[in-house]
């Protein structure tokens, strides 16, 4: 407990929380929508909150809901979640140096809590600060705050969804949420190519059994994105 009571841990925690607080408001609609969508596909409140605590990832939760609802095979659900989460491998590699001096227990715990918002907010200072306790506080305060907001507002969504009529098609909120995540990515040309190729392949191969088309579409999309990236790089190189 020495770490958590140290003045530098507390100073780091205060600063991390202050920096992240205004941004954290953006989590609220996501958590509400995720809560409502989970109930929308037929989960009980207990199942929905179980998923929310175990998975703790809006994109992976929303992205797997249509597959869970359709009764897709387990391996495809897990593969889709992995594809949606692969960006975290890059975030994890980028922020890893910020945990120098800490043991593997703290690293697993911090890794589990890694989110896009905290990564974007905290990475720079995590790398440049020497005091390891300050760094841990600076990372954990906004991470735990995100966790708390996520659980609280997902629960609010879960409870609110129960009082909304079934024919309001709440499950479509998951589709809207996934689109809202996709749109800023697709503003970059190679990303747009990856999305267009992935989307088109998924439609064309929709008839394949076991939703194999989705799996193929992810690979086609990655390949198309890489090809567009390569092509764009060559054009810029010769210009």
């Amino acid at each position: 407990m020495h770490t958590f009571s140290s003045p530098s841990f507390r100073a780091g925690a205060r600063e991390g929380f202050r920096t992240f607080l205004p941004l954290s408001v953006g989590l609220i609609p996501w958590a509400l929508v995720t809560g409502m969508s989970m109930v929308g596909i037929g989960m009980t409140p207990l199942q929905a909150m179980g998923m929310n605590v175990i998975v703790f990832a809006g994109t992976a939760q929303l992205g797997t809901l249509p597959l869970i609802a359709a009764g897709a095979p387990l391996w495809l659900i897990v593969a889709t979640a992995l594809a949606l989460n692969l960006r975290f491998v890059i975030f994890s590699a980028a922020i890893a140096q910020g945990f120098r001096g800490h043991g593997s227990g703290a690293r697993w715990f911090c890794g589990h809590l890694l989110t896009d918002g905290v990564f974007a907010t905290c990475m720079a200072k995590m790398l440049e600060t020497d005091d390891k306790n300050w760094r841990l506080g600076y990372y954990l305060a906004p991470s735990l705050w995100s966790w708390l907001l996520w659980q609280t507002f997902a629960l609010t969504g879960v409870l609110a969804a129960g009082s909304i009529p079934k024919n309001w098609s709440l499950e479509f909120m998951a589709t809207i949420a996934l689109m809202v995540l996709l749109i800023p990515m697709a503003k970059m040309r190679p990303m747009l190519v990856a999305a267009a190729a992935g989307g088109a392949t998924a439609v064309l191969l929709n008839g394949l059994p076991l939703k194999l088309g989705l799996f193929a579409a992810i690979f086609v999309g990655i390949g198309a994105g890489l090809a567009a990236d390569h092509w764009q790089g060559r054009r810029e190189g010769t210009a």
């Binding site: 175990i54 890059i90 909120m173 996709l182 990856a194 992935g198």
Partner: protein
Amino acid sequence: MTPPTFDASLWLIFVLVGLATTLPRASFIVLGSRVALPSLVQRALRYAPAAALAAIVVPDVLLVAGEFSPLNPKLAAAAAAAGAALLSRNPWLPFIAGMGVLLALRLGFGL
């Protein structure tokens, strides 16, 4: 009592999807700087989320019961939500616009 929609295997899904989330997140934080990713792999990983999101969303709004159907309420709702997301920074507006169009077409016009 209506029968449950999902059986106990749902919890297995949660645990595996949870692992598929925590392992990528913790990967390099736990491994430290002992391992480095080849740059081709790093670049390929960047495109996985966009490809996966589009592969889920596009069939959902273009197909009705497995058939290509460009004029369906979900596509109109998706267009309204995308327009709201592009034109406004309000995080609620895409949901209000998209659900508003979908409910108006389905409940109002019975489509």
